[in-house]
């Protein structure tokens, strides 16, 4: 009886070990991270709204790996070693991506062999310059200038400029407690934009808010933002 018991335990261990070996692949280990930049400056976007695609040929059905870009314009992915093609699909981001001769979105070849850091250069429609955000007398006041980067036929107008404030560090059109908007038609001088929004009552009380400015470009889904700044009052 004892004999059989030991035998069963032995068999069980053998089975468990065997299955550990066979079923499991190694997890992807290479880190691929960096920022989305224009001339070294990161492009700030809305949380969870901008992503790029990585394509790898040679493994069965062809489909994309989506990599999300964070609010601050950084990204990070765990990948297997190999050759990938990186592309932004045409709807993504407040920027233009370079096109190939056929007029399609061009790809960048990325070779992953161990961890890699790479800044991805894009061409934004506008950049927000010299933004200042400050609190005074129960309001958040903002100032910024806008520089039109794409001035040729691909350039686009501004639909509106908004100042958002929120309780948490996620600040955008969908996550805010108050907003002030200037429509594109009402902008007289791109170098002198002033906005101000009253801070509403917050429960539970906190003596700070997070704020940033977002620019909606006509016909472009994603907004370009200033970095989130925490403002105490």
């Amino acid at each position: 009886m004892k004999m059989r018991f030991y035998f069963m335990i032995g068999a069980l261990i053998a089975v468990l070990f065997a299955s550990c070996k066979k079923d499991n692949y190694d997890a992807p280990e290479a880190d691929f991270n960096g920022r989305i930049v224009y001339k070294g400056e990161p492009i700030n976007v809305q949380y969870g709204q901008v992503n790029f695609e990585l394509w790898q040929a040679g493994f069965g059905n062809y489909s994309a790996l989506n990599v999300n870009v964070s609010q601050e314009g950084t990204y990070s992915a765990k990948l297997f070693n190999g050759d990938y093609k990186l592309v932004f699909s045409p709807n993504q981001g407040p920027f233009l991506w370079k096109k190939n001769a056929a007029g399609k979105q061009d790809t960048i070849v990325v070779n992953i062999n161990g961890s890699k850091t790479m800044d991805i250069e894009v061409m934004p429609y506008y950049m927000i310059r010299g933004a200042t955000l400050s609190a005074a007398a129960g309001k958040v006041n903002a100032f910024c200038k806008l520089e039109k980067i794409i001035t040729n036929a691909d350039g686009r107008d501004i639909e509106n400029v908004s100042l958002y404030i929120n309780k948490t560090q996620f600040v955008d059109g969908s996550n805010n407690i108050a907003t002030q908007q200037i429509s594109g038609a009402a902008i007289a001088d791109l170098n002198n934009l002033n906005m101000s929004v009253t801070i509403p009552g917050i429960t539970p009380t906190q003596n700070y808010v997070f704020a940033r400015i977002g620019v909606k470009i006509a016909g472009v889904d994603d907004l370009i933002f200033t970095p989130v700044s925490k403002i105490s009052f």
């Binding site: 709204q49 709807n91 059109g173 969908s174 889904d221």
Partner: protein, 640 residues
């Protein structure tokens, strides 16, 4: 002696068995092996009997696609027309954006369906055994359904490969001859219009045929398709085009499509066989009955019918009946939003928010709970079960609690909860919340303050799981034909004709002050379709074709201020990204003139956490990666 006799018997018996079995094996192999299956009918046998063909057509009708339908109540909550008061569906208000693959209709199912339709048409054309009139009607029905399927595809996907013959693979290893490119968006619309124009004279012109294709059904679909194509052309957006024309229609074609839409609608109207449903002098009851009355209903042109005691019954009433009078311990799932409710205009043709507070923000007090909704479009009470109104003869009990003189709220967290010693000067047990809620976060309670009424079956037992409901799903009705005609006429610059058609629909809703031609605007037409066709599956496609969807669902969150003394309710571009509700409270202040009167508060259900965002890439659903991998000629839709 006796023994041999027995022997003989045995020998005879063997001989008989051997003889029988030889006789059996004398038959040819094929006669023995080739047997007709008993469970399926061979094709040529079907095409000898019209009743058998009808069963095949029945299957083809059954597979006709709908996106929003009473068989899937939750689809009505995705676009802020309603709130999903069911714990498994709160996510519909917590997703910021619509997936690019949402409402995609291009898969094995869709093209398998088209293949079956093409096969049916081919076999019908080859068959000789049926009477010509029977055969022609079946073929016309199949072409009607096929046109409907292509219309459904083009409105969701843009141009798709137009396959009108049966394609077969030859197993040569080279499938490239089966790889068709996408047709232009206009080509699909033109195909749909031409097919319907061709079959309308073959189909019966009989208004009592409502669940099968008729002349009017073909014309109604034609007018809708042409109207969609016309507005896509007119409101074209340079971003929503592809160089090959797979997506996008040139604005120069707009008037041609509007003319066709108007002509098709007029042919039904001038035919005089259909009319608006006006059986009940109570206009709200009448509007509700329009959807549930299946006995000689003159308004219904084409519907998906259901039948009790078969497996073709549905649970819309079970899912959505008022919780307090429900026939099962469930219901109340679909809660119309305040966004929709306040859109119903006042009887003097003006728009106004529900008057919960006066101009300076003080609450208004109402003696009866229904008073706040008085003097509105009769379709409001026909579409929505308002607090204090009745369903199946029972009054719903929707109120959120007591508000005391100091502004504090006494309420409960379960249906019709009682509490003891909570009201000042009353130590007894009192009910502190309605038996239908609203209780925030409690599923099946009226979390927006309203229950849906449209399509809710008044028959006894319709709310029981064992019985279910046989109310039909109306795909085309006469009111739409009138509004299609009005819109097409308006777009063609004929506001007087538009005003005349709109008047008929508005008269039935009790809005008897007719709009003058000068008052007919694009925003008026958008508004009229919104309130007439709420919960009928038009909203998404209408907003898409007018290119308003990215403005209405723009991803910006809303606040209660947007629902209080609002001045842009009639605006076509008014934001509607989050569901809001209106909760009645009883004011408790003994001795005060307003004691036990009702006050109302605009609220946002706490389960609504994200603002819906319709991106430019959502106008045309993405094409599956498997389709793109399988056919290199397919181009992607724009902005995805």
């Amino acid at each position: 002696m006796k023994k041999t006799n027995q022997m003989k018997k045995i020998i005879y018996a063997f001989a008989a068995i051997a003889f029988l079995s030889f006789a059996q094996s004398c038959k040819k192999d094929s006669a023995f092996l080739d047997k007709q299956p008993t469970s399926t009918l061979p094709i040529d046998a079907v095409w000898k009997d019209p009743n058998l063909v009808l069963t095949v057509v029945g299957d083809l009708y059954d597979r006709y696609p709908d996106y929003q339908t009473i068989e899937a109540w939750y689809t009505f909550t995705d676009f802020d027309e309603g709130f999903a008061s069911a714990s498994g569906d709160y996510f519909r208000h917590q997703n910021l954006e619509y997936g690019y693959d949402a409402w995609r209709y291009w898969d094995m199912g869709a093209y398998g369906y088209i293949r079956d339709l093409n096969m049916f048409i081919k076999r019908g054309q080859e068959s000789t055994a049926l009477k010509a009139e029977d055969r022609d009607r079946f073929l016309a029905e199949a072409r009607f359904i096929r046109a409907g399927v292509y219309f459904e595809m083009v409105k969701r996907m843009g141009g798709v490969p137009l396959i009108t013959t049966v394609l077969d693979y030859d197993y040569s290893g080279d499938p490239s001859y089966l790889q068709y490119p996408r047709a232009k968006e206009t080509e699909i619309y033109d195909f749909v219009i031409a097919e319907l124009e061709a079959v309308k004279t073959i189909l019966p012109d009989n208004p009592s045929v409502q669940s099968r294709a008729t002349k009017a059904a073909a014309l109604a679909m034609e007018s809708r398709a042409a109207l969609y194509a016309g507005s896509i052309a007119k409101y074209s957006n340079s971003q929503l085009t592809l160089p090959g024309g797979e997506v996008g229609i040139s604005s120069s074609l707009a008037n041609g499509y509007f003319t066709k839409a108007l002509a098709a609608a007029k042919e039904i109207i001038d035919g005089g066989k259909y009319s608006l449903y006006k059986k009940n002098p109570n206009l709200s009851e009448n509007f509700a009955a329009l959807f549930t009355d299946k006995g000689s209903n003159p308004e219904v042109i084409f519907a998906k019918d259901f039948k009790l005691k078969t497996n073709k019954a549905h649970g819309f009433t079970i899912d959505n009946q008022p919780r307090s009078s429900a026939e099962e311990a469930q219901g109340g799932r679909l809660n119309p939003s305040l966004n929709l409710v306040q859109s119903f205009e006042k009887l003097d043709n003006t728009y106004a928010s529900m008057a919960s507070v006066d101009g300076s923000g003080n609450p208004l007090y109402y003696t009866n709970i229904t008073d706040i909704f008085a003097g509105r479009d009769a379709r409001l009470a026909g579409t929505v079960i308002l607090p204090g109104t009745q369903f199946k003869g029972k009054t719903v009990d929707i109120w959120a609690g007591y508000q005391l003189a100091d502004g504090s709220i006494i309420t409960g967290d379960n249906f019709g909860q009682n509490k003891t010693n909570v009201l000042p000067g009353n130590a007894g047990s009192v009910q502190v919340v309605g038996a239908d809620g609203p209780v925030d976060g409690l599923e099946f309670s009226a979390q927006s303050g309203f229950y849906v009424r449209k399509y809710l079956d008044p028959a006894t037992g319709s709310g029981q799981i064992g019985t279910r409901s046989d109310v039909w799903w109306i795909r085309y009705r006469y009111a739409e034909v009138l509004l299609n005609a009005a819109e097409a006429a308006f777009e063609l610059g004929d506001a007087a004709t538009a005003a005349n058609y709109i008047k008929q629909v508005r008269d039935r809703a009790g809005l008897t002050t007719a709009l003058t031609p000068a008052q007919i605007t694009f925003d008026r037409i958008v508004h009229e379709r919104k309130v007439e066709f709420a919960f009928e599956g038009h909203e998404l496609w209408d907003m898409k074709r007018w290119r308003l969807a990215d403005k209405v669902w723009n991803g910006s969150n809303m606040s209660a201020a947007d629902f209080i003394n609002s001045n842009n309710i009639g605006s076509a571009t008014r934001t509607s990204t989050q569901v809001f509700g209106l909760w009645p409270y009883k004011y408790y202040n003994p001795g005060n003139a307003n004691h036990l009167k009702y006050i109302f508060k605009v609220i946002k259900p706490s389960r609504v956490t994200a603002a819906h965002r319709f991106r430019i890439g959502n106008y045309y659903s993405s094409i599956g990666q498997d389709v793109l991998n399988g056919n290199p000629k397919i181009v992607r839709n724009p902005n995805q």
